[in-house]
């Protein structure tokens, strides 16, 4: 089917009849070869300048070919720059622009600043409870302190926790951090962060939603691997991390709602996430003042599988985003209401504290 509008045989290099309106006629143009040199010089020099940061980012990546290749390329470059003192110069330049080169790659930005430590009367906070206790009844002068921690899912419920809890009775602190988890403490050290949060804010209730990024080997803050994902030792080691994290969160008498992971659309991940949820549930069952909320069941289709919709009686709501992992605004709102109801059931959360 000959449908073309031009005969390629008559093609000529373009010569613009009128000067373009963007001022390019007043600029010197370059031939393609020199442009390529310009691009390559630009990218190589940028890569050299940015190599320390690129290496830190690569170290934080999940294990795999991409990480291995990146580190193989960047490692020697940064080694040379370290010896020449270039890294220090670059880091100083980065600091001048407000980026602290030695902070954890996961960073602490985009989380709420925590309040100064409130006075601890010692009366309403049993330090070593033997069984579940009730959440205290808040007042306008002494509102409940609720902290939401975890990964991007926690960021979502953190936002909607602020809407669901009544501001006159509850202070919500959103500490969710995108791309984080319990596996890679070298990327983001959640136990350390949780200790800081407990010390600084002494939360009455900590809502934990974490684990979406944890299909990785367990690594210490120093970069040592303690359990390789897929090995027999991984589940027990992972559960131990969850248990230790919950212990930290309850160490000052606070309560924890551990929000389980929802089923993703990708059925290949169900087995792993199912085991994660069992680990969270088992840890919660062992510890006082820790309760596990089963998100998977709450948002499952009638056949137990994945659905993007939530049915409340006959009313249907789209609750999941296109990625098949996260919730949309309606989904987080429903989830947060379910969590608040669950906290009331488990820890007698004052029903005045949230919009029922």
């Amino acid at each position: 089917m000959a449908t073309g509008t031009k005969d390629p045989a008559t093609e000529q290099p373009r010569s613009d009849a009128a000067p373009p309106a963007d001022g390019s006629s007043r600029r010197h143009a370059m031939p393609a070869g020199r442009v390529l040199v310009t691009i390559l010089v630009g990218l190589v020099v940028w890569a050299l300048l940015y190599a320390p940061e690129l290496k830190r980012s690569s170290e934080a990546q999940p294990e795999g070919l991409r990480r291995t290749v990146s580190l193989a390329v960047l490692g020697p470059v940064v080694w040379v720059e370290d010896r020449l003192g270039v890294t220090r110069l670059i880091d100083n330049a980065s600091s001048a622009f407000g980026r602290h080169p030695n902070e954890a790659v996961g960073g602490d930005d985009a989380v709420d600043p925590l309040p100064p430590t409130p006075p601890d009367t010692g009366h309403d906070r049993p330090r070593q409870p033997r069984r579940d206790t009730d959440l205290r009844v808040p007042s306008a002068s002494n509102p409940l302190r609720v902290v939401v921690v975890g990964d991007s899912l926690a960021q979502g419920i953190g936002t909607f926790a602020e809407r669901v809890f009544r501001p006159n009775l509850v202070n919500v602190f959103r500490e969710g951090k995108i791309s984080t988890g319990l596996s890679r403490e070298d990327f983001y050290n959640w136990p350390a962060r949780m200790r800081y949060i407990v010390h600084q804010a002494r939360p009455d209730l900590t809502i934990v939603m974490i684990g979406e990024n944890d299909a990785q080997s367990l690594v210490t803050p120093d970069g040592d691997t303690v359990a390789v994902v897929g090995t027999t030792g991984f589940p027990a080691a992972y559960e131990e991390r969850a248990r230790e994290f919950a212990k930290i969160a309850t160490s000052q008498g606070g309560h924890v709602i551990w929000v389980g992971l929802p089923q993703p659309r990708d059925t290949r991940r169900w087995d792993f996430i199912g085991r994660q949820n069992r680990a969270f549930a088992d840890a919660a069952a062992e510890l006082p003042n820790v309760a596990f909320f089963d998100t998977w069941s709450a948002f499952a289709a009638p056949d137990g599988g994945y659905t993007a919709y939530y049915r409340d009686g006959s009313h249907v709501t789209l609750v999941r985003t296109d990625d098949g992992v996260h919730f949309n605004a309606d989904g987080y709102t429903i989830l947060m209401h379910l969590i608040a109801d669950f906290a009331q059931e488990q820890f007698q959360l004052d029903p005045r504290t949230y919009e029922g």
């Binding site: 073309g4 509008t5 000529q12 373009r14 020199r34 691009i39 630009g42 622009f97 009313h315």
Partner: protein, 475 residues
């Protein structure tokens, strides 16, 4: 594949080499560029390439059918069917969930039992953009404004990677002729391209990403907890964020095309300097505005059928424009509000033309008051656009009035500086920038490359870690 990533940098270097190496061989060049564009698109999800190819095939078959019809009524019918077939995938992917939920709940409230399959349809990136380009092609052929192109030209027109995922919405007569003219490898405006790419990166990585995290997301996330100054500044910051995000993307797209020897239409022309909402739409997402005008508003009758019909046409155009941005009622409300703005503007214009409404004084002070009023109206509409529901938007707008006594910790010097920087770009004259580009164009490749690297280092260091997707990818 996102522009501000090392993946794209490597991809682009390879494409640049292949592009200029095959420049003399039209057939091989087109095959290479189509393949490269499909790799670029498939980087998100390889399944998407089948949709892109499918839309391309449907578009070309529709165009062939239209071009073979010479009897006017049948030609129009074939064109209508062709457009319907072209737009069908977009309707399915974008509106199935919206339609299903609303129909099911409306039926339930009426006591009826309707149970459409509750499946989640994932919207592929860019489909809204290349579908509109496909419709342009079929309609332009119907109108006789453009001739039928070859299959390879059509495939490349729709898939050409610089515009593929978020525009600009390039019309057939702007791009397809460029595909058949051999590009001149001796004259590449590298200074102009670098300005666009680095400027676009700065707007996106430094300003838009910073404002999103520092004030926009918190304020829109929970309006009820923020003071009036924070609510106002949050809304203004979103106006700056979406401008820097979207115009940043199109600047990069236009710059990338320029390095390959292509010229794309301008998509933004300092929109917040507009003195009326009509002018705003001539400066904001210009390729969408003219698309809506030429393929929706004018075919509906435009302003040729009396005032009443003009208002109806404006409302239909803007409501559908809102729905194009997303399958949610707050987008419809955003479009509807702009429809009201434009209708009021049309009404005032009519009154002025007949002398029943005085022209405002032509003074600098009045011009600035008009700019401020237009910006305020646009910001009110942006609130509906950004909020996750109409109710949230109304809560936030309410907070701009009712919470003046509360503290405003989100208002910081960097936030004000970032907003200021975004707004100042609306009023900087072109002259100094052109002179700077002229000076940069005198540099030889190595110094120019080093200068680019230093600017890139500053941008990547100033921006937050990680790569945030562009706002318009979701549309």
């Amino acid at each position: 594949m996102l522009f501000p990533t090392t993946d794209f940098a490597i991809f682009f270097c390879l494409v640049f080499l292949g592009h200029w190496w095959l420049n003399h061989n039209a057939r091989a060049w087109k095959a290479f560029m189509i393949a490269a564009s499909y790799v670029f698109y498939g980087w998100w999800n390889w399944r998407y390439v089948f949709l892109l190819a499918g839309v391309s095939v449907i578009t070309q078959l529709a165009a062939i059918a239209v071009s073979r019809q010479h009897q006017p009524r049948r030609r129009m019918t074939v064109m209508g069917l062709g457009v319907a077939a072209t737009i069908a995938p977009l309707v399915y992917f974008k509106y199935y969930g919206f339609f299903t939920v609303n129909v099911t709940n409306a039926a339930t409230s009426l006591g009826l039992h309707v149970a459409p399959p509750l499946i989640q349809v994932v919207l592929p990136v860019g489909v809204s953009f290349y579908t509109f380009m496909a419709i342009s092609y079929v309609v332009d052929i119907y109108r006789g404004d453009f001739e039928l192109s070859s299959w390879s030209d059509l495939f490349l027109y729709l898939s050409f990677f610089p515009h593929l995922v978020a525009g600009p919405i390039v019309r057939p007569n702007e791009l397809i002729p460029q595909l058949d003219i051999r590009r001149d490898p001796r004259h590449i405006d590298v200074a102009g391209a670098a300005w666009l790419i680095l400027g676009g990166l700065f707007k996106k990585v430094v300003i838009a990403n910073y404002l999103a995290g520092a004030i926009v997301d918190p304020v829109f996330g929970d309006p009820a907890r923020h003071s009036s100054p924070e609510a106002i500044l949050g809304i203004v910051a979103y106006a700056v964020q979406i401008y820097c995000d979207f115009s940043g993307y199109t600047d990069i797209a236009i710059g990338v095309a320029k390095v390959l020897g292509f010229r794309f239409p301008q998509n933004f022309d300092r929109p917040y300097s507009a003195r009326s909402v009509q002018e705003f739409w001539r400066r904001w997402h210009m390729t969408l505005s003219r698309w809506l005008r030429d393929y929706l508003y004018i075919p509906l009758g435009g302003n040729r059928r009396g005032n009443g019909r003009t208002y109806v046409n404006l409302m239909i155009t803007m409501l559908l424009g809102g729905l194009w941005h997303g399958a949610a009622w707050h987008f419809v409300a955003w479009g509807g509000l702009h429809g009201v703005y434009l209708s009021v503007g049309h009404w005032k214009q009519g009154k002025r033309e007949t002398g029943r409404l005085a022209e405002p004084p032509d003074t600098t002070l009045v011009h600035w008051m008009q700019r401020l009023a237009t910006f305020t109206l646009v910001c009110i509409a942006w609130t509906l656009f950004r909020a996750d529901s109409v109710a949230t938007a109304l809560t936030l707008l309410g907070r701009t009035i009712t919470a003046w006594s509360e503290p405003s910790p989100l208002i910081t010097i960097p936030v004000i500086l970032a907003i200021g920087a975004g707004l100042v770009t609306q009023f900087v004259p072109h002259g100094p920038a052109d002179r700077l580009k002229g000076a940069v164009s005198n540099l030889r490749p190595v110094p120019l490359g080093i200068a680019i690297a230093v600017v890139l280092f500053v941008i990547t260091t100033l921006g937050p870690r990680g790569v945030a997707p562009f706002i318009y990818f979701q549309f």
